[in-house]
């Protein structure tokens, strides 16, 4: 795991940057990217528009739905409420980093097995929220599962199936021990 700065805590030598495009570096899914973006660009838009990682969805763009959830140093965050420039030095994990070709993460496999989605538009965000949960707790009780995805709206209403998928994925994670962490390209 990276030991980068938390959003909002700029290194002391940092001076104000922008307006206008400025060069930044982002670690996404284990790779380093050099970008030139405006400081006001959100992490969500940097991922989608600059890195063309469109798996992370834009739904409300104001931190109310969870569709844009990604992991920042292992913690689930709303990427629409985070500026990309704040994420320099952090490890970012998106839905694209969770699988390796057809080799899916146990969470992804469990979502398919339990039919834990319909339209799928909230699904990448749901899965990343679940990933953050399972990084801190491999045997979450039902209430913790509900709470972990309670910031992720599913308008199709497949919540009960999401809960079942998380239970299944948690079991697989627990069985695999710490080895599963490699699957996330971190």
């Amino acid at each position: 795991m990276g030991a980068g700065a938390n959003p909002g805590q700029h290194p002391p030598e940092e001076v104000a940057r922008g307006p206008g495009k400025v060069p930044i570096q982002l670690h996404v899914n284990g790779a380093l990217y050099y970008l030139e973006i405006e400081p006001r660009r959100t992490l969500l838009d940097a991922l989608r528009l600059d890195l063309h990682l469109t798996g992370t969805k834009r739904v409300c763009n104001m931190g109310q739905c969870g569709a844009c959830t990604v992991l920042l140093d292992g913690k689930a965050i709303y990427s629409c409420l985070t500026l990309a420039i704040e994420c320099e030095g952090c490890q970012i994990l998106t839905i694209e980093g969770l699988s390796d070709g057809d080799n899916l993460d146990p969470i992804q496999r469990a979502f398919i097995e339990h039919d834990a989605f319909q339209c799928g538009f909230c699904t990448p965000g749901q899965i990343m929220a679940v990933r953050a949960l399972l990084e801190r707790s491999t045997n979450p009780p039902p209430e913790e599962i509900r709470r972990a995805v309670s910031g992720n709206l599913c308008r199709c209403g497949s919540y009960l199936r999401i809960f079942k998928a998380v239970e299944t994925a948690a079991r697989v994670y627990a069985e695999q021990g710490s080895g599963w962490r490699q699957g996330g390209n971190l």
Binding site: L49, C60, Q64, Q108, F121, R146, R155
Partner: protein, 771 residues
């Protein structure tokens, strides 16, 4: 042989006449006891891996070389005339490529004798101007630099108020849609009430509800010369193509519409809106592709909603519960655009047997965005008052709610008098009552401190039988795998998987040997709108016929190749067999590979509906709730839903649909409502923070069952739809449970905490006054 057959189709309570072109022989109906390998099994979605990895490309995700991003300037006023627009500051912003408004846009006619960019704006959110720029941030900056002077006009946003003779007119023709109410009548309602032993009546209200599909409405437009390609988040790919061809005066083959993956529609994406036309206009002028997706606020102002209703409902019945008369007068404000109110009278007309029925529906124009269909449109709005008043009637008569519904059980379709193709609502009621423990729990209202528990129920009927026109092709690849091709769309309901199951079943191959390519008007034949819970029943039979056609072409070739009679050649588990032999002679791929560049292409079409038969779906739903009288909080503990939808092609997908419908129904019954400030005409909660859709913490245990008996008169699958049915009875079932728990009847939804607390306080004070 190609034949032309006339067929009737019911969609959302409206009847349509279609001519169906029927080619070839339609496959025999699958019998009740047919041994099916794949159809009827709960298969996981074949496009699951694409959806869970982020690989699936939704309209929002389309990115093209040179693509510009567009934003729309919207009116801040509910009614105004645009006096002046100055776009010079916006146009001068670096990165801005095109700015359009009514000053320079072509005069494109829109609904209700208005224009795409009209000098008059009729709701707070109406389109005023649009900008395409190199980046969305620049486009957003630019629309803030457009200066507009508005001549603000009087407005009306309340439906009842809009009908007042002095009310401001939304359109010059007046505020009553169509100039008169829509009246349905059978029998003699006055006589029916005269014959009644008991009459109950009340005025009910249902709220405006927002779809809030997670993928907003929007489009990406690309011009290549005079050829337009449009990606749109739509429930009707072919419809978008036709609409845009008409608007841009292009032949159909010059427009290609695409929707590969779709992030929810729920009725709001049945036809295109201004977004795709604006995207295409901007793209044509800029000579670059343009991406225009609505943001969440715009989505909640300008892309549709379930219209609110006020319903005066009156029921007359005999002492034994037999309904003698039904009278419904409903008003529904549909916004500034559109031409009809939804079928709010459907439930009153066809749910129960009653000889004397009158419904009068008044659609009203208001200075609000356009209402659109929302999952079970009309029926859902109509079910809450009707099913509530049925419980009131039962209580008055000392009858059980289930019993009074069975007492008025319709054995023929009450409106047309036609026989049903199939109906097992009685079994739904019996099974659902058993699952919830109806008889045991009915009398017991448990009181635990401030909490009270009770159960309630409601019934539902909906169409979902589908019909022509709908077509599909099935192609056999050289390696023996199959491809289903059609121009329909999977709006998230699992359509692809269901079609793959049907094709694999008919072809005699494994599910993993079938891919489904849909969502592109250039790669498959016509399919209808994904609406009315009828994609499986409209398009599914066409897929089956196409697969049967492909299989028979393969058998013909195999018969020649093997020198065996055609009727002795069978396809089993991907092998080509001769009847009576246990081992296949060859694999399908051996033959399709050998015939090489020739491709077998099977064609299928949806046959006509049987004449003089009513095809409908039915369901009974039960709710167990706990109400905290101290806080007004309602916790839905458990929902049970049982449906008769004919054969269930994919039980897992169907269950998911039923559960999702109930989750939406819980929102509709308890929390969701769009709020407009009457003083300013502004929507106060166009976001997901203040508009309360159910979250993971709000869902109860949901149990479901399907009768599963194939409807032998519906279509060659015996299957009907489930998308909408399960939502229709949810709010009334919950309302009836709350009424039972508190002894207080709520006449409006959503039944919010504040309504409950107010009602409890009012009941307490009247009780004290009585002492």
């Amino acid at each position: 042989m190609t034949r032309l057959v006339r067929s009737k189709i019911e969609v959302e309570g409206r009847m349509y006449d279609h001519f169906a072109i029927v080619e070839g022989r339609e496959p025999q109906r699958w019998q009740r006891d047919a041994e099916l390998r794949i159809v009827g099994k709960g298969e996981p979605r074949i496009d699951g891996p694409d959806r869970v990895t982020g690989r699936a490309i939704y309209t929002y995700d389309v990115q093209l070389p040179g693509m510009l991003y567009a934003r729309v300037l919207r009116s801040p006023h509910p009614h105004a005339r645009i006096k002046r627009i100055d776009v010079s500051r916006a146009a001068a912003l670096p990165g801005v490529r095109v700015v359009i408004s009514h000053l320079n846009a072509p005069m494109i006619p829109w609904t209700n004798d208005t224009l795409l960019f009209d000098p008059v704006v009729r709701f707070a959110g109406d389109e005023v101007a649009a900008v395409a720029a190199d980046d969305e941030y620049i486009a957003e900056d630019a629309i803030r630099l457009i200066d507009v002077d508005y001549d603000v006009q009087p407005f009306v946003v309340d439906g009842e108020e809009a009908l007042h003779p002095e009310a401001p007119r939304v359109h010059p023709t007046g505020n009553l849609v169509g100039g008169q109410p829509k009246v349905y009548e059978r029998g003699d309602v006055q006589r029916g009430f005269a014959e009644a032993d008991v009459v109950v009546e009340d005025t009910f209200q249902t709220q405006a509800a927002l779809h809030n599909c997670l993928e907003p409405h929007g489009a990406v437009a690309l011009w290549e010369g005079d050829h337009l390609t449009i990606w749109e988040s739509t429930q009707h790919v072919y419809g978008v193509r036709e609409q845009l061809a008409q608007i841009f005066d292009l032949p159909l083959d010059k427009v290609r519409a695409i929707c590969w993956y779709m992030g929810g529609g729920f009725g709001s994406k049945q036809y295109t809106g201004k977004w795709s036309v604006i995207a295409a206009l901007l793209a044509r002028q800029a000579q670059r592709p343009v991406h225009l997706m609505l943001n969440r606020r715009e989505e909640n102002l300008a892309s549709g909603y379930r219209a609110s209703t006020t319903q005066r409902l009156k029921l007359g019945a005999k002492h034994d519960g037999t309904l003698t008369a039904i009278d419904l007068v409903a008003t529904s404000p549909i916004g500034a655009y559109g031409n009809h109110a939804k079928a709010i009278g459907m439930h009153a007309q066809v749910m129960y047997a009653c000889p004397n029925v009158r419904t009068e529906i008044r659609g009203v124009f208001t200075n609000v965005g356009e209402a659109r269909s929302f999952r079970g449109p009309g029926a859902t709005e109509g079910a809450f008052p009707f099913e509530s008043l049925m419980d009131v009637l039962a209580e008055r008569l000392g009858m059980d709610p289930v019993e009074i519904r069975l007492k008025n059980y319709a054995t023929t379709e009450p409106s047309s008098g036609q026989p049903y193709s199939a109906k097992h609502l009685d079994e739904c009621l019996r099974k659902g009552a058993e699952m919830i423990g109806w008889t045991g729990k009915r009398k017991a209202i448990r009181i635990d401190g401030t909490k009270r528990r009770a159960i309630g129920m409601a019934c539902q009927t909906w169409g979902g039988g589908g019909g022509p026109p709908a077509f599909a092709w099935v192609k056999l690849n050289q390696d023996g795998t199959a491809e289903v091709l059609l121009g329909g769309q999977d709006i998230g309901t699992g359509t692809k998987t269901v079609f793959a199951q049907i094709a694999a079943e008919e072809l005699g191959i494994g599910l993993d040997q079938v891919v489904v390519n849909l969502g592109d008007s250039a790669c498959g034949p016509y399919a209808p709108v994904s609406w009315g819970s009828m994609t499986v029943s409209s398009v599914g039979p066409a897929v089956r016929q196409a697969a049967a056609d492909a299989r028979d072409q393969l058998r013909e070739l195999a018969a020649e190749f093997l020198n065996a009679p055609f009727d002795q050649v069978e396809i089993r588990d991907g092998g080509i067999c001769v009847r009576g032999e246990s081992q296949p002679r060859m694999r399908i791929g051996d033959l399709t590979g050998w015939i090489g560049p020739f491709t077998i292409l099977g064609k299928g079409g949806r046959g006509p509906n049987e004449p003089c038969v009513a095809v409908r779906t039915f369901g009974a739903q039960f709710a167990e709730v706990e109400v905290d009288t101290a806080t007004g909080e309602v916790t839905v503990l458990r929902m049970v839903t049982v449906h008769d939808i004919g054969r269930v092609v994919n039980p897992q997908g169907a269950a998911n649909q039923a559960e999702g419908a109930i989750v939406q129904g819980i929102g509709y019954g308890l929390t969701e409502q769009r709020i407009i400030d009457l003083q300013t005409g502004i929507v106060l909660n166009p976001n997901l923070e203040d508009y309360l859709v159910p979250t993971a913490l709000d869902v109860p245990a949901i149990e479901h069952a399907f009768v599963g008996d194939p409807d032998q008169h519906a279509n060659n699958l015996g299957a009907k739809g489930i998308g909408e049915p399960a939502l229709i009875p949810t709010a009334p079932a919950i309302a009836n449970a709350i009424a039972r728990a508190l002894g207080i009847r709520f006449l409006s939804i959503p039944i919010t905490r504040s309504k409950i607390l107010d009602a409890i306080r009012a009941a307490d004070s009247s009780r004290r006054a009585a002492l």
